[in-house]
């Protein structure tokens, strides 16, 4: 069976391929001036944050390891995987370092909330099976909130 980390990597690889094709196509056909390039890379960064949230949710729905440390490592994989894309975004001057750090912290917070809900349920109500749906429910809710209020956090991150 696939480990939590391997699942995180697989999910990241799955979203990165269409993202790379989309970026290449855009770069091939748009005019290369900062007026067009910077919005493109800002869009790339906000899309990455949304995809990372989606990956964290999918990861919580298919939990294979009982150890929370494995969950944490899976989430770290999801956060670190798109760093080369993020580095490119930063080099084009589309986003500053503060925005990048804030964005990654936001994703870390979503991941941490998911893990915390899992630890809480494991420790507090280990015997109650129906309560085991709470951690995935928390992750799904967070993903829905991220999507629904995307204009809000994008505005906050100046994206």
């Amino acid at each position: 069976m696939m480990s939590q980390q391997r699942q995180a990597l697989t999910l990241s690889i799955i979203y990165s391929i269409p993202l790379l094709i989309w970026l290449t196509t855009q770069l091939q056909f748009i005019e290369w001036s900062h007026f067009y390039l910077q919005p493109l890379f800002r869009q790339l960064f906000s899309t990455l944050l949304l995809l990372q949230t989606l990956c964290i949710t999918l990861l919580s729905l298919n939990r294979v390891d009982r150890q929370w440390s494995q969950d944490a490592l899976g989430i770290i994989h999801i956060i670190l995987f798109p760093l080369p894309f993020v580095a490119l975004t930063w080099l084009t001057g589309s986003v500053n370092l503060n925005t990048i750090i804030s964005g990654l912290l936001l994703i870390s917070l979503i991941g941490a909330l998911g893990i915390l809900s899992r630890i809480s349920i494991d420790f507090l109500a280990a015997g109650l099976k129906p309560l085991k749906i709470i951690p995935p429910f928390v992750s799904i809710t967070l993903a829905i909130l991220m999507w629904n209020f995307r204009h809000l956090w994008m505005n906050w991150l100046e994206l």
Partner: protein, 471 residues
């Protein structure tokens, strides 16, 4: 410190004008003059001994709702700051010498063509070639020309070399001939008039006959930047694809996936290292001249950075006209050197977005070909050996390879040998040519481009146009 705007406070929006900065020292002073205009930030080092008056004429770029701020920053002491505002015009200006009472005539009989007159005394005529950027015609008396200062004379020579219009009140033929001899386009745009009422008509005729200006920054970008984009796109795609494939391979083969946490960090770090620092410097030159003329107009596009993210610096000659090639992400800083004959342009550029500047200069150069029309066919006479390898004749929407010719020999194209334009430069020139007007296009690196750099990639074309048959 005293400030005064050139052209009597008039300027064309987005064009260069000039300002006069007068410094009077009461003791020995040294410091910097800082000029902030619509283009950027210019620093001029100044050192003056006691009780000395020094006047600088500095080119500035003017934009609506943006004032020009000049600061005197002494090494010791208080900073002096002053602001200047100019009257903006959306249309090109016509300079009229104060001795010519044309304004009354124009008021009485409004001309059919729009003329935006600026009436100037001799001492207010431009002192820098850049100040002529927004001028479309100059109407004066021969006596005014004889009382110009050296700077004013040099600026006017530059203006006339670029095939600009000069109208003179009744002038002796030998003087008119001398003026035409040192002007561009064989002096066709220098004319004399007898009565003031003739002026609007002469101006309308001359304006209509002016050939197209040098290509715009956008057109030149298309002609030369495609290769840069392809190289950068390939490197980015290879970088990201390589990274994803590497992760796929490691995920497949390595059991302990936690070690893979380091890979994105390493790859991102490598990307930042590779794409940070001083970027490339690329110059695309488009040099145009008329057959039989010695003046060549060199219009170049300077690309700084783009292949890396970081600060870029380049030394430029002060005689070339520098303007923004496109809307800049960041305004440049220009540091004049102590001798005021060169300046260092510094700007920060980001990955994939080079900072673009347009450089325009006039120089004297003998042309390798002469282009004539004989029996309705273009005729090329060569003056130099082994230069015709890649030269092309462009005529009636077709291109013709010019064969290698020995000096003094001539060649006429066979109309059946015409080919379609292939390269961006050929397409650009054809789009700028009248259907029947021939022109020669050849790869060319000008001796003088105004850029002093060993790290410069230079691509250029020389265009020799056929001289229109009207005098």
């Amino acid at each position: 410190m005293e400030l005064k705007t050139g052209l009597d406070g008039h300027a064309v929006d987005g064009q260069t004008s000039e300002i006069e900065i007068r410094l009077l020292s009461t003791s020995v002073i040294s410091g910097q003059l800082e000029i902030n205009d619509a283009f950027g930030h210019t620093l001029i080092p100044v050192k003056l001994s006691e009780r000395v008056e020094k006047t600088f004429w500095q080119a500035v770029t003017v934009e609506q709702n943006k004032s020009i701020i000049v600061r005197w920053i002494p090494e010791h002491g208080d900073i002096i700051e002053k602001q200047l505002l100019v009257d903006h015009s959306q249309t090109a200006l016509t300079i009229i010498s104060r001795s010519i009472p044309l304004k009354l005539t124009l008021d009485k009989n409004p001309p059919s063509v729009a003329i935006t007159p600026v009436i100037l005394s001799t001492q207010n005529l431009p002192h820098t070639p850049q100040a002529y950027a927004g001028i479309e015609a100059f109407i004066t008396a021969p006596q005014t020309l004889s009382s110009l200062s050296k700077d004013q004379y040099l600026a006017l020579s530059d203006y006339l070399s670029s095939c600009n219009i000069l109208l003179l009140s009744t002038v002796e033929q030998p003087l008119l001939k001398r003026l035409k001899d040192f002007s561009g386009c064989s002096g066709r745009f220098i004319q004399s008039y007898e009565t003031l009422e003739q002026i609007p008509q002469i101006l309308a005729t001359l304006k209509g006959r002016r050939s197209a200006q040098t290509p715009s920054a956008d057109e030149m970008t298309l002609a030369g930047q495609k290769q840069f984009q392809q190289q950068m796109l390939s490197s980015i795609v290879l970088y990201l694809t390589g990274y994803i494939l590497f992760i796929i391979l490691l995920t497949w083969f390595i059991k302990k996936t936690q070690y893979q946490l380091l890979i994105p960090l390493i790859v991102a770090g490598a990307g930042i290292l590779a794409w940070s620092g001083e970027g490339s410097q690329q110059l695309i030159s488009w040099v145009e001249a008329e057959s039989g003329d010695n003046h060549v107009i060199n219009s170049s596009l300077l690309f700084l950075g783009g292949n890396r993210s970081g600060d870029n610096s380049i030394s430029l000659n002060t005689t070339s006209r520098l303007s923004s090639g496109m809307k800049q992400a960041q305004q440049p800083q220009i540091n004049y050197q102590q001798n005021l004959t060169s300046r260092v342009l510094t700007v920060k550029s980001q990955l994939l977005s080079p900072q673009t500047f347009k450089l325009t200069s006039i120089s004297t150069q003998s042309l390798p070909f002469e282009l004539k029309i004989q029996q309705d066919l273009p005729k090329i006479i060569t003056f130099e050996d082994s230069i015709a390898d890649k030269a092309l004749l462009l005529w009636r929407g077709q291109t013709y390879d010019i064969p290698s010719l020995t000096p003094g020999t001539s060649w006429q194209p066979d109309e059946t040998m015409g080919k379609s334009a292939v390269s961006p430069a050929e397409k650009l020139l054809l789009s700028r040519l009248a259907f029947d007007a021939p022109a020669i296009l050849m790869p060319f690196t000008p001796n003088y481009s105004g850029v002093i750099s060993s790290n410069l990639q230079h691509t250029g074309w020389l265009v020799i146009r056929h001289q229109p048959e009207w005098l």
